[in-house]
Subunit: 358 residues, 2 copies
């Protein structure tokens, strides 16, 4: 059955807290996105709010208006990733309204809808479902790392970043699409809840996994994907950043996921981790590349997130990083990523290095 | 009430799978260890089995013999850390016997006793408790990282290693004791179940924590410890190794825990991660030190795990690493660690570096 979804962003649509919504507006195979609830931007098109491209996704101030215009709606999606994964209190009212109108509600936050008795009651009464995407798997569904990753002969490319919320998932998605358009069989392994919401078949939700199982779940996702699809190239969506103090992350992709190649996403104008001065300055791209090399992997391209850049500045950064680093530098949203396909294709002919360390 | 404990190692006492037992035999403030169940070494003293030092802890073949000799026993502890955290099947019989004799059973594996209805029934009938140390905390007991770590002015020293099961916890414990004997107020933050079993007041079980909360739980443990004890020096027990593919770990201590100093434990004779050739070779100490430096922290001393070394070889390794690395090299079990106290004391007078990265 076709699933028609309404995104709830509750006033956050123009902020990076709504990165889940941004990903779903850009594209999802699991749902057809039909509208967004976001009072401050109501009346506009969500695509235009996001990046100026009209996508025929109206923004509404209320659930009633959305349902009046789109009676075929089946799901409402809590499409924000707030700091701490907590549900903003005022969002609960919107969720209650959706449930009383018979919609199912999908939630990717750490705070679970199924833990709230009044919501469970409303869902039962009106026939909706409560879907908590981040609900951890049962222990007997989890995998430990085994070393099976070393049987994968397709190149594994991790899309990592120098901070959170930079467009790692979007870049991985664009790279996968560009390879497919060039006739390569490429697959993407998701590692966040948005990847699941977008219809990803292989992956797991990294940050909601019990630590001891992270490496095994990652390996299992990559190995099953490769075995079942026979893909030529495997892109792994990265999470956070190697040195983001709020949750350093990345060694798993390089070491347990055996990603010997990395596409690194960086925002030249972002100064502090998570935009918070007290969290410390984001180190230079050069030092991030050196750290990745210390793990035995190579950054094969830089992808620039152009937040706060004018178009001229974006091009100037592209030029200067290219000269400085000697690797391809992408502007994924402005120029696409197809220019990198030959580089990726070359990885396929290279014999995969053994897993020995220096 | 004094808690008298019997350790269950089920034939593994002489292997590194029994590292939980080894730690408890070396010392615990939570329990008084009165005996071990381990048929292959029955009749000997557990301390002598461990390292040749008699500790008045008899090894028994059966629970009945242990109880006959030690009727004041209150607890049995599953004192192994098997690969995958699964309970060896034959251990279940021993656990049932303990429960029918009224003992409480403590378990640090990922497989929980409270999930087994027949054990729950036995505990209820005979009045024992089932304590699953690795049972994850409830979500509302967990902390996110906040940056409060930067308020800690005492040096934070992570005890890390080039592989699992090398003696990181034991080294951290010895360092804490040596500092205290020298009149310094030192505290240790545990990060594994054995640390809790040994009576640690500050810490959390790293590998059983939902990934998104690891950094926050670590920060919370360090900050509360420092605030409540006013310690001069804080030692953090490391886990696994930065590049162990089964579960790379370490950035959390360096970045989220702001440990600018590291004592690195290494076994010169261990060739492969977890002793498994397919997991890959353990990289050189130099490359591990370089990787730690790429995170902005310094290795201030190497501690040698002398497994498979003759006493002469151990001394030769100490000498050659000292020359090669230019830092103090400890043989913790053979020589103690008090020689490092002046180096640690010097850290206290150094102004703590800001958290800026290179």
């Amino acid at each position: 059955m076709q699933q028609h979804a309404l995104l709830i962003t509750a006033g956050l649509l123009t902020t990076s807290d709504a990165k889940t919504a941004h990903g779903l507006i850009r594209g999802t195979e699991r749902y057809t996105v039909r509208g967004v609830i976001d009072p401050p931007t109501a009346g506009r098109d969500a695509g235009e709010v996001l990046d100026g491209i009209h996508r025929n996704i109206p923004v509404w101030a209320t659930v009633e208006e959305a349902l009046a215009a789109t009676p075929e709606l089946t799901h409402a999606i809590v499409a924000v990733a707030t700091s701490g994964g907590v549900l903003p209190a005022h969002m609960l009212d919107t969720i209650r309204t959706c449930l009383t109108r018979g919609l199912s509600v999908v939630n990717g936050l750490h705070e679970f809808l199924n833990d709230k008795p009044d919501l469970v009651q409303l869902a039962q009464t009106y026939g909706g479902e409560l879907i908590d995407v981040r609900r951890p798997k049962r222990r007997d569904e989890l995998h430990f790392w085994t070393g099976a990753i070393y049987s994968v002969t397709a190149p594994i490319i991790a899309v990592m970043g120098t901070d959170c919320a930079l467009g790692k998932r979007t870049t991985a998605r664009l790279l996968t699409q560009a390879c497919r358009e060039a006739g390569l069989s490429a697959e993407m392994i998701y590692t966040g809840q948005t990847g699941w919401l977008q219809g990803g078949r292989y992956g797991f939700v990294f940050d909601t996994t019990i630590n001891d199982f992270v490496s095994g779940e990652l390996e299992h996702a990559i190995v099953s994907c490769w075995q079942e699809t026979g893909a030529d190239l495997l892109f792994v969506e990265g999470q956070a950043a190697l040195r983001n103090p709020g949750g350093p992350c990345g060694a798993e992709f390089l070491v347990s996921g055996n990603a010997k190649a990395v596409v690194l996403v960086h925002a030249p104008k972002r100064k502090y981790y998570d935009h918070i001065p007290a969290w410390g300055e984001i180190p230079s791209v050069e030092s991030e590349i050196a750290l990745i090399r210390a793990y035995g992997s190579e950054v094969i391209a830089l992808a620039i997130n152009t937040e706060a850049c004018s178009p001229e500045e974006a091009l100037a950064f592209q030029q200067s990083y290219r000269e400085q680093l000697g690797i391809p530098v992408l502007l994924p949203l402005e120029q696409g990523v197809s220019g990198l396909v030959p580089v990726l294709q070359a990885l396929m002919t290279k014999p995969q290095p053994p897993h020995a360390h220096s």
